[in-house]
């Protein structure tokens, strides 16, 4: 137990490992389908419009948003699988498609809000790169022809905007990271109530979730060296830990209400 009364990161990880131990084929199968769909969709979106006009930029941003919302339906399916597993219920790969069958409108509304907020984070860097791209400087030839001071200035601006974007995205994922589980666990709640409950559940637990997500970076780096294959297992482990974290938070909230 930590100071806030919940399980520590190590305890959550141990619980998550125990949870997925006998059900790894389901977890890996679901993660593989999710990753394959995401890979295809990302490549389609990236390849549709490659010119650097303003209209193309707007179309690309809209397509990225729509694909993020669509992937959110799969993400909710993944959350359902891990939610079932941490509560000791049987799960199957079919659960990945659960939200296409049952109340997809709720998932789409929630994912539209979350994806919209995350888009705000990455929009400045995308606009900067897009307008910079119009001058031809982002091509290798353009970069080589630039003088050192201009290149350093570009790197600083790009780095700052990327950092701001990452901080916004992390903040959104910390405040609203449990909303998907709440959506599945409480079918009677609407989007606003789900978001508010997620924010209230994360009160006093954001640092713990941040620590959990940062602690997986070394494993993801290790998985990267295996051409991403091992990351299917790392993803399963991380998602099980987040689901266990949700279980812990919801039980802590129950204890407080009692």
């Amino acid at each position: 137990m930590n100071a806030a009364g919940g399980k520590t990161s190590a305890e959550l990880k141990a619980f998550a490992r125990g949870t997925i131990l006998g059900t790894l084929p389901v977890c890996i199968g679901a993660n593989f389908i999710y990753s394959a769909v995401r890979f295809l969709l990302d490549n389609i979106v990236a390849g549709v419009l490659t010119d650097t006009t303003v209209l193309s930029f707007i179309m690309n941003t809209a397509l990225s948003f729509l694909s993020a919302v669509f992937m959110g339906i799969f993400q909710a399916g993944l959350c359902l699988i891990y939610l079932k597993l941490v509560f000791g219920q049987p799960a199957s790969v079919r659960d990945l498609f659960h939200c296409f069958r049952e109340s997809p409108d709720r998932v789409v509304k929630l994912q539209a809000v979350i994806s919209g907020l995350q888009l705000i984070g990455i929009l400045p860097v995308q606009i900067y790169m897009s307008f910079f791209g119009q001058s031809g400087a982002v091509s290798p030839a353009g970069l080589l022809s630039m003088d050192r001071a201009a290149l350093a200035g570009m790197a600083v601006r790009f780095g700052t905007l990327s950092l701001i974007g990452t901080v916004i995205q992390y903040a959104v994922s910390l405040f609203l990271g449990l909303s998907c589980y709440i959506l599945l666990d409480f079918p009677e709640l609407d989007t606003r109530e789900i978001l508010l409950r997620s924010v209230s559940l994360m009160k006093g637990a954001k640092r713990r979730l941040l620590y959990i997500s940062l602690s997986f970076i070394p494993l993801y780096i290790l998985g990267f060296f295996s051409f991403g294959i091992a990351n299917l297992w790392v993803m399963a482990y991380e998602q099980a830990v987040v689901a266990a974290f949700y279980k812990d938070r919801i039980e802590a909230a129950g204890r407080t209400e009692d």
Binding site: G22, G88, D185, F225, Y237
Partner: protein, 129 residues
């Protein structure tokens, strides 16, 4: 969501799964180390990290790994370190060949013998300057 109960049968199955996963981690670690002599870098890069991650997952709720999983991790770490050394050595050798005229001449002859082109034609312009 309601919590389901886990009985003794579940616990026995759970231990089996842990041992099976540790066995897989061990075999992958062994393949990773063995492939250093047959198919270095590529197989090691796939099997090594996978073995380490499976060994971690095989712990289940326990804090310690079983010996088979530990061995898998040791084999994987050794093979990954050796792979890193091979890659670093290759890069250093290539850099030395490019800067040293004697080595460069030897490499040029080797490339001409195998590919029929001089080295300068195969590499991007400006590499030797």
């Amino acid at each position: 969501m309601e919590n389901s109960q886990n009985g003794p049968e579940y616990y026995s199955q759970y231990l089996d799964d842990g041992y099976r996963l540790a066995g897989t981690a061990f075999i992958l670690g062994l393949i990773s180390l063995g492939s250093m002599f047959i198919f270095p870098v590529f197989m090691t890069c796939i099997c090594g990290p996978l073995s380490i991650i499976l060994a971690i997952l095989s712990k289940g709720e326990n804090r310690k790994m079983i010996s088979r999983a530990k061995l898998g991790v040791v084999f994987s770490v050794i093979s990954l370190v050796l792979t890193a050394l091979i890659i670093a050595g290759s890069v250093l050798l290539a850099l030395r060949m490019m800067s040293d005229p004697v080595y460069r001449n030897e490499l040029d002859q080797l490339v001409q013998r195998y590919y029929g082109y001089p080295l300068e034609e195969l590499l991007p312009p400006g590499v030797f300057e």
